[in-house]
Amino acid sequence: MEEKKKDWPPYAPGTHLRESDIRDKKITYTWWEPEVQYAWSLGPAMSKFLKGLKEGKIYGIHCKRCKRIITPPRMFCEYCYGPTEEWVDLPDTGIIETFSISYLDPDARRIEDPILVGVVDLDGTPPHHGFMHYFGEMTKDEIKIGMKVKAVWKPENEREGSITDIKYFKPYKGGGD
């Protein structure tokens, strides 16, 4: 079939707009700034978790059917779809599951001092269970997957019931440190 061999798409429609076209006002445009604000209700699980952080504790919750302690906690288990129960006070130590050395801020601006960030696999939970946080008291050359870490908490009077009540996780040798 002759037609079949046609090169398609023959072209790509569209008008490229360069940053300079916008800056020099070669085109007209409309701006808008919406007001987009929320107050998400916290259910029992998240409330308890955040209140725990304020007290310097990391709570997990038990799914007895799956024999799994999960944190961040939730009121149901996604594997068996049953309700979870029995709160567990977890240690604030773990290992680095994975990490990144970031030179970007949230709006993709460049920053000089890189942020060390990653996932902590918390002790007392099944493997690969934890949450994301910052790492500190280590350099970008020292950080490694599998490294043992321990939470550094904000002073008690500065804690407000947020994930940022933990300042970061620092290297940890074990024992009474």
């Binding site: 007209t28 445009y29 987009v36 604000q37 929320y38 998240m46 149901f76 309700p83």
Partner: protein
């Protein structure tokens, strides 16, 4: 009951504040750009006439959505910045659901010589009057201050 426990203490931590704030930049598009550039220099509007169904589309479009054909450049026509009020309402609430200082008369205005209309604010504080069918004229910003957005139309009277 679907959970083993629920919130029972109304004083406990209940919500988490956050936003989805960002700013938005909308290029006015192929047709919109032509429309607003025209409005910047003139005191009239542009409309487009579909070559297939002959409807005069306002505001000007790149294509006729009913026939799904592109509208060629020669089918752009100039129309006066005036029209007849089709519908109006007296809005008392602002977007937060609170009373505005002054009610605003919002209207849908059929633009002359077109099959289209536009939303606008009527410059009046006569809240008893029936505006349906009243002929109105767009009041535009002084030419020097026009920026090429719908805001160049200050109000209608």
């Amino acid at each position: 009951m679907t959970f083993t426990e629920k919130q029972t203490d109304p004083t406990s931590e209940m919500h988490w504040l956050g936003d989805m704030q960002a700013d938005y930049f909308y290029p006015n598009g192929i047709a919109g750009d032509k429309f607003f550039k025209h409005l910047k220099e003139n005191d009239s509007f542009l409309a487009t006439k579909c070559k297939k169904c002959s409807k005069v589309l306002f505001p000007a479009r790149l294509y006729c959505e009913d026939c799904f054909t592109e509208i060629p450049g020669e089918n752009w026509i100039e129309v006066p910045a005036s029209g007849k009020i089709r519908l109006f309402t007296i809005a008392k609430l602002d977007a937060h659901g609170e009373k505005m200082k002054e009610p605003k008369i919002m209207a849908l205005i059929d633009i002359e010589k077109t099959n289209g209309s536009i939303l606008g604010v009527i410059n009046s504080n006569d809240y008893e009057k029936d505006f349906s069918g009243v002929q109105v004229q767009a009041v535009l910003r002084p030419k020097a201050n026009r920026e090429g957005t719908l805001k160049d139309i200050l109000y209608w009277e």
